[in-house]
Amino acid sequence: MSYPLNPLLYSNDVEKEPIRAGFGRGLKAAGELDENVVALCADLTDSTQMGLFKEAFPKRFIEVGVAEQNLVTVASGLARAGRVPFTSSYAAFSPGRNWEQIRTTAALNDQPVKIVGSHAGVSVGPDGATHQMLEDIALMRVLPNMVVVAPGDSLEAEKATLALAENGKPSYLRLAREKTPIFSTEAAPFELGKAYVLREGSDVSLFGTGTMTYQLLVAAKILEARGVSAEVVHVPTIKPLDTETLLASARRTGRIVTAEEAQAAGGFGSAVAELLSDKLPMPVKRIGINDRFGESGNPDELIEYFGLSGEKIAESVQQFIDEAPQYHR
């Protein structure tokens, strides 16, 4: 079954919505399905989209103030008491500030605490480097027991939130602030641990997570016009990786490009490179931020500057194809 992409995907009229908005709807829906779902926020209720849940379930919404260490450790206690706590803040602060608390009281303690890091990546824009979290994927995916998810659009964020409410594991959900195009549809599948082939191709596989998947779809279209057949695989679950789907795609194309709005070191691309070095060694180009911090600017401007736009990615992929041989063909 082919993945049902939004038919307006490449139109100027494609609907855009912040990924975090889908989380807000998903959290409320999860709250309706399970009365044990509770929400905790560190003084960012509206911008992390917990307002809908708070309005619907005021007794199950807990304001902890600007205290991210307390945010996840209180959640750990609630989880021990049988609740399913979703905690939200900006990713720069949670898991940026409270990583040890997450490690000990959620991951090692194996409690189903949900860490929702909003406003991740450079597309936060004007706030600048302090608030543009780029290291969170690397920080979270190295923790045993932790599930790591970066939805590609708001529709998927809604589905991912519902899935995380039921998975019984400590989990990280990475969200973005800016409006981004909705490439999926209501009918599109989402399952934790699954990757989805959005476009088939034979010259190169483009693996994307979070906001970058849309840019990869744009890049694939540009490459198609140049006679390059690019396969696009959307990988919302960074941990555990869908090794079967990724390896199958790698066998088909023999060249891999990964893209993430995060440090290229240690994150999603590194996870893919680890998999391929173990199972199917081949050239992997990792697109992301290269060992530097972000800076203030408009989101589009920054995405372009850091080489993360569809056009810039198409250029990088073309260069990679020119240089790298195809393996395992």
């Binding site: 450790t73 206690g77 000990t104 009281t105 303690n109």
Partner: protein, 265 residues
């Protein structure tokens, strides 16, 4: 236990022995044979390095066989160097890195008070005094004060030592009572070696219905072992074989004042 393990903390657990006796044999409503009993009280150890005394109390109470105490800190043991909930039934949390236990206790207490609306269960948490250097503790103290978590009862082991020296030299905590009071807590102070006082303080704490309570327990680090008492150097060190023998003799004879109980065993 500690001598056998060859590493670990001596002074804190000895200073807490009386309080843990009070907890596991009077204060806590628990069923050692049914660790997940749904009506149980919750006890969390925040200063995880003091877990040897908790293991000892749990074994004495019947959570597991006392022979297992000798596996402390050894490969394959359920008695990890710092407590791990996943490893040993009866532990309610995983701790070691300081400062997070009060928050976990507050989360549980919030759940009881506001979501279950069950006033019959209580959440107790033990904190070290050196641990109060951690900002996470005061975030939790503020949180518990805001939500008036009256089923939350904290103990502070006020033994005045931490690894680098005396608490008032390393990072002064006084006015400790005033600090907790200003965060909205009911504060009690007891002699942590007077078991009756500890039990009475816990009873008073349970009767306070509009605030969380903290019981500052004044204790002697290394209590009962002459060469360890009051000496911060014993915070993070186990005794060697000879020292362990001397320590146990001290403990069993109250420093030579009584005939050794179980002598020759």
């Amino acid at each position: 236990m500690l001598e056998e393990a060859g590493s670990g903390h001596s002074a804190g657990p000895l200073g807490l022995a009386d309080i843990f006796a009070a907890l596991y044999f009077n204060i806590l409503t628990i069923r050692p044979e049914e660790p997940e009993w749904e009506d149980r009280d919750i006890f969390l150890l925040s200063n995880g390095h003091c877990v040897p005394v908790q293991y000892a109390a749990m074994a004495e109470a019947g959570f597991f066989d006392k022979t297992e105490l000798r596996t402390l800190r050894k490969f394959g043991s359920r008695l990890q160097g710092h407590p791990e909930r996943e490893k040993l039934p009866g532990l309610e949390n995983t701790s070691g890195p300081l400062g997070s236990g009060l928050s976990q206790a507050a989360g549980y207490a919030y759940s009881l008070q506001y979501l279950d609306e069950n006033p019959r269960r209580f959440v107790y948490v033990m904190m070290g005094d050196g641990e109060l250097n951690e900002g996470n503790i005061w975030e939790a103290a503020m949180f518990a004060g805001k939500y008036k978590l009256s089923q939350l009862i904290g103990f502070v082991d006020r033994n005045n030592i931490q690894i680098d020296g005396n608490t008032e030299d390393v990072m002064p905590l006084e006015d400790l009572r005033g600090k907790w009071e200003s965060f909205g807590w009911h504060v009690l102070e007891v002699d942590g070696h007077n078991i009756e006082s500890v039990i009475n303080a816990a009873s008073e704490a349970r009767a306070v219905t509009n605030r969380p309570t903290v019981i500052i327990c004044h204790t002697i680090p290394g209590k009962g072992v002459d060469f360890m008492e009051y000496n911060y150097k014993w915070h993070g060190m186990p005794p060697n074989a000879e020292q362990a023998k001397e320590a146990l003799e001290d403990l069993r004879t109250l420093g030579g004042k009584i005939v050794e109980e179980g002598a020759g065993v």
